[in-house]
Symmetry: C2
Subunit: 134 residues, 2 copies
């Protein structure tokens, strides 16, 4: 199949498939005489794996490691698990960070009239000297 079909079937854009190939994340497929890339069903499988990994927030480099583990039939599941759990912690940390920002801002907004008047605790806070805010 051509790259377009592989893209549709895997959920990875043709653009990205070429990119992944260029950085060595996936192996270069065969080519027709006219240089068209030709993919096999198994390649779509790999692309789906990458897609899933990306959807779960793994970077391409992490995805590269996961792919290597996937291909290595003698891997230790402990290796996969530790990689996954490290990522879980990173995700949770990032989520908590965003939540903290939201909470701080929501708190400030609570005290803002939100009417025609110019007074605004949000701007006042931004303009204030650096302090550890709630």
């Amino acid at each position: 199949m051509n790259i377009g079909e592989a893209a549709t079937r895997s959920g990875v854009s043709a653009k990205m498939i070429r990119y992944y190939e260029s950085i060595g994340l996936i192996t270069p497929p065969a080519r027709t005489a006219a240089q068209y890339r030709v993919y096999a069903a198994d390649d779509v499988h790999t692309l789906r794996f990458v897609r899933r990994s990306r959807d779960l927030g793994f970077s391409l480099e992490e995805t590269r490691e996961l792919l290597a583990l996937w291909r290595d039939k003698s891997r230790a599941s402990a290796d996969v698990k530790s990689l996954a759990m490290a990522h879980v912690r990173a995700l949770e940390e990032k989520a908590a960070e965003l939540k903290a920002m939201a909470d701080t801002l929501r708190h400030l907004a609570t005290h803002c009239h939100g009417d025609h008047r110019p007074d605004c605790p949000i701007l006042a806070d931004f303009a204030a000297a650096p302090t550890v805010q709630a």
Copy 2:
């Protein structure tokens, strides 16, 4: 004061101060005969405002709007508040997204032995046909 001191006092790196100037976020300061940038106390104030805005996750474009509102003494606090609340929603949405990824992955990891054996539900999931996972 020179850019280094302004950087230290504001918490914005000299590199970033120059960049903010280049994109018109802050106004170009005066220069000495030797072309050194000269900042006033008020400039540090502005830089701190930008820093705080960035720390709360606003993009530079959003920060630009906030700065404009800050400078506009006849602004309506409603405008500030709506900008802030839109951002709060975006932050919470993003946080929820990350949390969902973490939950999914943690769930998969729960069923992974995490020992020397190669069998791993995490990789199995990644390799599976696209399905709506828990």
